[in-house]
């Protein structure tokens, strides 16, 4: 039997008996991502929807000063709440998103035809209140425009005189594209799952084995180090691929619980999506297994390897963060960069875009090339005489 296969079968069988590995690869790793994601998305979507369409509950100070204005705002969806004593403090302390204040002089200005003032207290550094404030401003301005037009008409003038230029907004966003930022984090969960699924095993099979003093006897056998490495990396890949598979299935199931229909969009979370993600992620399975083994080979102990890998785990999140902070046009070179290519391709697929066969091909070829390079570097380290020495 091929000695790599011997190593693979032994590692596979031994680690199936290790509860910690199995738990890590088949439950914690793959299921935490979808769980967090679905919860997060649900909270974000329902919050956005309630802010955009639900009644606007805001404290109003001096409502009696302008009963007509309030009646009109009620029509538009404002639900006036009892006034607060100190509007500045209320906004600063984040008790309310905004406060509408109508000064006592409102009625007098109104009747004399002077501009009547209303005050909106808010904090523009609180980005989450932006939508609420904009809605409130728009409501007041609409009332102002309407009244202005009626005053002109009452004087026999055309209401269009006061608005010489008209802006006609033609928003080209789709519900899909508006939700894009929300979902650009999703590919990171897949990468994270592959990372976590193989991490414990990768550390155990090199740093752990050295610490338990079984690496030296293993290397005394007449088997070239790179063959041993291949067997071990194959075992890591199988475990992390299982993690990934479970994670993808969990996402396709969990996707049904995301209220996407409220956003008027359909996520492409079907079986086809699952297969495509699996294929796109395959180079990363090998790349990450080789990388984790390399780090484990350099570390002096299990703990050291764990520390390094926990830090390394943060790197794959970079493309996700970059793309959600600085959305850029997807360029074809991105499909040649591992991690970035998965990020771009999976996001595209998720939001109903199309990824060509050539792009998938580029992603796979470049991904596997980098993985092979990583494997070659790891094999070199495996061949060094310091690797097996325990103390």
């Amino acid at each position: 039997m091929n000695s790599s296969l011997v190593v693979f079968l032994k590692e596979f069988r031994e680690n199936l008996r290790d509860r910690r590995t199995v738990l890590n690869a088949l439950i914690t790793g793959p299921l935490i991502g979808p769980l967090i994601f679905v919860m997060l998305i649900n909270v974000m979507i329902s919050r956005q929807l309630s802010q955009a369409e639900g009644p606007l509950r805001l404290p109003v100070i001096g409502a009696t000063n302008a009963p007509n204005l309030i009646a009109e705002l009620r029509q538009q969806g404002l639900d006036p709440q009892p006034p607060v004593a100190d509007p500045i403090a209320a906004v600063r302390n984040r008790d309310v998103a905004a406060v509408l204040r109508i000064p006592p002089a409102f009625g007098e200005s109104w009747h004399t035809g002077e501009p009547a003032q209303v005050e909106i207290y808010y904090d523009s550094s609180r980005r989450e209140t932006q939508q609420v404030v904009n809605r409130l401003k728009e409501m007041v301005q609409r009332y102002s425009r309407l009244t202005g037009a009626m005053r002109l008409v009452a004087r026999g003038l055309s209401s269009t005189l006061a608005s010489p230029v008209l802006v006609d907004e033609r928003d080209q966003s789709t519900p899909q594209s508006r939700a894009g930022a929300l979902f650009s984090i999703l590919p990171y969960f897949f990468v994270l799952t592959v990372f976590i699924g193989g991490m414990y095993l990768a550390i155990d099979l090199t740093a752990g084995e050295r610490e338990r003093q079984s690496l030296e006897p293993l290397f005394v056998n007449p088997v070239a180090p790179w063959r041993i490495l291949l067997g071990k990396v194959a075992a890591i890949c199988v475990f992390s691929a299982c993690s990934l598979l479970i994670c993808i299935v969990a996402f396709t199931v969990a996707g049904r619980f995301i209220p996407t229909e409220k956003l008027g969009m359909a996520l492409g979370l079907g079986p086809v999506f699952a297969v495509e993600v699996l294929v796109l992620m395959l180079p990363l399975v090998l790349l990450i297994a080789a990388l984790e083994t390399l780090v484990a080979a350099f570390s002096k102990s299990f703990r050291e390897a764990q520390t390094y890998l926990s830090l390394l785990m943060l790197i794959p999140i970079l493309p996700s963060i970059m793309l959600s902070l600085f959305p850029v046009k997807t360029a074809s070179w991105m499909y040649a960069v591992p991690l970035l290519s998965q990020q771009v391709a999976i996001t595209e697929l998720l939001l109903g875009g199309s990824v060509t066969a050539a792009q998938i091909g580029t992603c796979l070829v470049c991904g596997f090339a980098v993985a092979a390079l990583m494997l070659a570097v790891t094999a070199r380290v495996y061949g060094s005489e310091r690797l097996a020495i325990s103390v």
Partner: protein, 244 residues
């Protein structure tokens, strides 16, 4: 037959092995004796090709380990200083794993394994997982897996380390059995009694050099000491790091 010719190995400034030469013959037990830190383990690691010597060479049955390390490993049965087992596997599975890595055909391996289990008296724990094995059980399993391919040459790094009195006696008898089968047995120790009792030839190492390479009687005659312990102390220059 293991021949060692002028081995050198340095770790940075430290010259761990500094010109070691000796030969271990078939049908003999050769003891490598020296205080802790004398370079015994480093020498052995170069013999079983885990480390590459800076200069010098090792011949096992005439094969140069620098040229064909894999062929050399096939002819060696090694109990290294590190003797960790796979704790989720049974003793039998641990042995079988090494048999497959050595490329021993399954039928031959099974027969050889059963013989070793009998000789090493492993019957009562062979199908238990290695987790929680006693030191003696661990060493027995490590020896069985090291000898599963029936090697002509056997290298044992401090084989009685950590064993109790009874286990130590059995281990010594086992080494005599290996010699009786015509094998070349090379073992290291820092225990003088053990070396004196077992060896046909003693190679004394101190500070990375061979300071004596004689049969036990010759050592006594050479130093003029009737007591072997005194003889060693005289050769090495101090009694530091040696155990009686």
């Amino acid at each position: 037959m293991i021949q060692v010719e002028n081995l050198h190995k340095a770790f940075g400034e430290v010259r761990a092995v500094d010109g070691v030469s000796f030969a271990a013959r078939d049908g003999e037990i050769t003891g490598l004796l020296g205080p802790n830190g004398a370079g015994k383990t480093t020498t052995l690691r170069m013999l079983y090709t885990l480390m590459r010597p800076d200069s010098g060479r090792v011949l096992v049955d005439g094969i140069d380990s620098g040229i064909d390390p894999l062929a050399v490993r096939k002819r060696l049965g090694v109990l290294p200083d590190a003797r960790g087992l796979y704790k989720h596997l049974t003793a039998r599975e641990n042995i079988d794993y090494f048999a497959r890595l050595q490329g021993v055909p399954a039928g031959v391996a099974a027969h050889r394994r059963d013989t070793l289990i009998k000789v090493l008296e492993m019957g009562d724990f062979v199908d238990r997982r290695a987790e929680g094995f006693s030191q003696g059980q661990r060493v027995k399993t490590a020896i069985a897996r090291a000898l599963i391919h029936d090697p002509k040459n056997v290298i044992l790094d401090e084989p009685t380390n950590g064993l109790d009195v009874m286990a130590t006696r059995r281990m010594r008898q086992f080494m005599r059995d290996l010699r009786a089968e015509g094998r070349c047995v090379l073992f290291s120790s820092h225990i003088m009694q053990e070396v004196a009792q077992l060896c046909d030839r003693i190679v004394v190492i101190a500070k990375g050099r061979v300071v004596a390479d004689e049969p036990p009687e010759a050592l006594r005659t050479q130093t003029g000491e009737s007591n072997l312990e005194e003889a060693f102390v005289k050769i090495i220059g101090s009694g530091e790091g040696l155990a009686a």
